[in-house]
Amino acid sequence: MNLSLGLDLFPLTAAILVSVGCGLLGNFLVLRRLSLMGDAISHSVLPGIVIAFLLFTTRSAGVLLLGAAIAGVVTVVLVEVVRQVGRVESSAAIGVVFTVLFALGVLLIEQAAVRHADLDADCLLYGQLETLLWYGAPDDLSGLFSASTLSAIPPQIYLLCITVTIVFLGVGFLYKELRIAAFDPLLSTSLGFHATALHYLLMIMVAAMTVASFEAVGSILVIALLVCPAATARLLTDRLSVQLLLSVVIAFFCGIGGYLGATVVPGLWGKDSVNAAGAIATVAGGLLAIGLLVAPRYGSLARWLRHRRNTSAIAIDDLLTTLYRVAESGGDRCSFEDLKAGWSGPKLHQVIASASRRGMIAVEGGPLSLTPNGRQRAEELIRRHRLWEHYLVDEASIPADHVHDTAEVLEHIEAIDPADEIGTPNRDPHGKPIPPKHEEG
């Protein structure tokens, strides 16, 4: 690690600011299914900026922000017009609008680049974090706050600071309104927070954040930062406030990780640094991929484990009920071969092993029998199974010879007790006795 103050401080700061600002706003795009609109806006602010630049021939932040905000609103309006007049689905409408506007922007840049050398299409696309050099960087920390060093801070940093502050304040003040609008736009409007107005406000904030991020990460990579951290956070929690916090934290690490990955890591092999904006977007995507795999509740791994646990629990239950039915019909013990003949679940050996490990069945001497514990569990399952059969015949008018398979599924649901619905009959539709409910403890 050797970072230098003048070379790395502000690119790193900018990377973090962009990531954090975009990461926060992105939550509302993800929740309102507006990610594609965010994508469209990040493309279509390009002509807004270039036109503003050509009209006022200045790169001052206010003018560019104004141009971008107008472009953002124009995009949203145009998409709506194309969608309704053209009767195409909204993603095609978005595609129509942003490609045309972006093409316009590219053409205008090429046109303008002849007269104004400081407009560069590549920079606007990929970002040039590395150019945010601090030429007046002090040699030691004591000179940090003198006027000359502070005035040499790149102006983009100020712009970013201001925009990110506005974004955070805006989200903070409008948190309640944005939250309602994110989940239920109609309710929001009926409560007096105009959902459409909020929508446009959000879009303007996205456009402003896009412009502020332009020179740091470029227009296209903004979209990765808008959506990835928020999507990752959405995998980790169901609560909006927690999601906002998590997304900001994740975005923060995207910014740092991406920047260091682009500048420091290639240096380890003696290579030049690569494009930091691209690296940040890659890191953001990578974090999302990790989230998809290992998120505690919604991750693929957690789901797989849960599924496996359920499957094995259900298999044990099936084994217990089978043994119970054998005992009921007179057989006292049941050999492995008999079981095997009628078994359709997962591997019988493993099921028997885990059932006996839990003390549900006794396997001594070959044939299997239920232990008292196992018998109690089996009775509970059989009770529910037969009550469900009763319920299906009585309440749903299904013929008695068609209810077994459905009841076989319903018996595993712990949350509902069919006795609450139909009381406690003694026999099921087939005439078999229904065991009584065991008292807890």
Binding site: V85, S91, G95, V96, I223, L235, A277, G278
Partner: protein, 354 residues
């Protein structure tokens, strides 16, 4: 769209001031009428064919709601192009040959589409998120690769940057031949499977009950989208190539409700847009071909949206005006026979011809 048209016009007018002279006009006419040399003609004809194929497949892409999946796909090709370039350079081949780069592009492009499918199957995140995430992350990786090539490859990235904005002028006759083959094959596939594609697009569950291999047909549509996107990369550039699929189809939507005429119209719109665009770009080589083609196609879209007979904006506005007039007349009639007057009649309930 009005804005687009106006700025395109002012753009042309602008160049009139600076460089547009009688000779440029001559060149323009020469190129438009295919009299400007074998290579230019070949490129323009190839691009028009590409536009035709993309327009036709775009209809199916739009009906299957895959328009922006194609956008993610085209952005996701960048890392593959870079990898293919580096690999080819590593083996010692010239990395700029089109087939090598296209294979790389196809590899990560398809990988991106698979990622979208996986995220969707995962279930927690919606399609819009899946598309944008793949688009952003893959493009980011591509930008990293591009900057690496720019810094470390002796040959530079000249062979790659043309894929970003599109550069029809850089196309070799051999490239055009490859392009024409792929377009021809896609068109043939579309014609042979037209009935199947149509029913999958409109009612896939019905197709499933009929016993048709809906998944495989869907995969076929996706494969055609991939092919056209890959072929279009060099002409239109990976950022804007998706417009070749979307714009003609959306334009054709204004003119007809029938799938056959829509497919045909979309193909024609695509071909016209690409032909005009590549012509203009041949005359003004400074502008990236992709952007010019998108703007000419956008112009066709704007014209369709304004002037289409039943759907067009002008027709809609005029009809609304007539309806209001009709309402007023109805009020006047009711008011004359005063006892029957109960306020405004329901809009559109009258016998207005439409």
């Amino acid at each position: 769209m009005m804005l687009t048209a106006r700025i395109l016009a002012s753009e042309l007018a602008d160049s009139t001031h600076s460089s547009f002279s009688a000779s440029t006009l001559d060149t323009l006419i020469q190129v438009l009428t295919f009299r400007s040399g074998y290579n230019t003609n070949l490129v323009i004809a190839g691009t028009a064919l590409l536009g035709f194929a993309a327009g036709i497949i775009g209809v199916f892409a739009m009906l299957r709601k895959r328009s922006l999946v194609a956008d993610a796909l085209s952005h996701a090709t960048l890392p593959g192009i870079c990898m293919a370039f580096l690999l080819a350079a590593f083996i010692g081949q010239a990395g700029r040959t089109l087939p090598v780069l296209l294979i790389g592009a196809g590899f990560t492009g398809v990988l991106g589409v698979l990622c979208i499918q996986m995220i969707l199957r995962h279930g927690r995140l919606r399609e819009d998120v899946a598309i944008t995430v793949v688009l952003g992350a893959f493009f980011g990786a591509g930008v990293v690769g591009l900057s690496y090539i720019q810094a470390h490859s002796a040959a530079g990235s000249a062979g790659i940057t043309r894929f970003i904005y599109g550069q029809a002028a850089s196309m070799q006759p051999s490239d055009v031949v490859i392009m024409a083959w792929i377009c021809g094959i896609s068109l043939l596939a579309c014609m042979l499977l037209f009935k199947e594609f149509t029913i999958v697009c409109f009612n896939d569950s019905y197709a499933r009950t009929l016993g048709w291999p809906v998944e495989r047909l869907d995969l076929g549509i996706m494969a055609l989208i991939v092919l056209v996107t890959l072929v279009g990369l060099q002409t239109a550039g990976l950022i804007l190539v998706v417009a070749l699929l979307i714009l003609p189809a959306a334009s054709a939507r204004f003119w007809t409700d029938r799938i056959r005429s829509m497919v045909l119209l979309s193909g024609l719109f695509g071909a016209t847009g690409c032909w005009l665009g590549s012509t203009l770009s041949a005359v003004f080589p400074r502008y990236p071909t992709g952007a010019v083609i998108v703007l000419t196609s956008g112009l066709l879209f704007a014209l369709s949206m304004l002037f289409a007979p039943r759907r067009g904006l002008i027709h809609l506005l005029r009809r609304r005006g007539r309806l209001q007039l009709h309402d007023l007349q109805a009020v006047a009639v009711h008011a004359d026979g005063a006892p029957g007057f109960r306020g405004l009649p329901h809009r559109g309930s009258g016998s207005v011809d439409s």
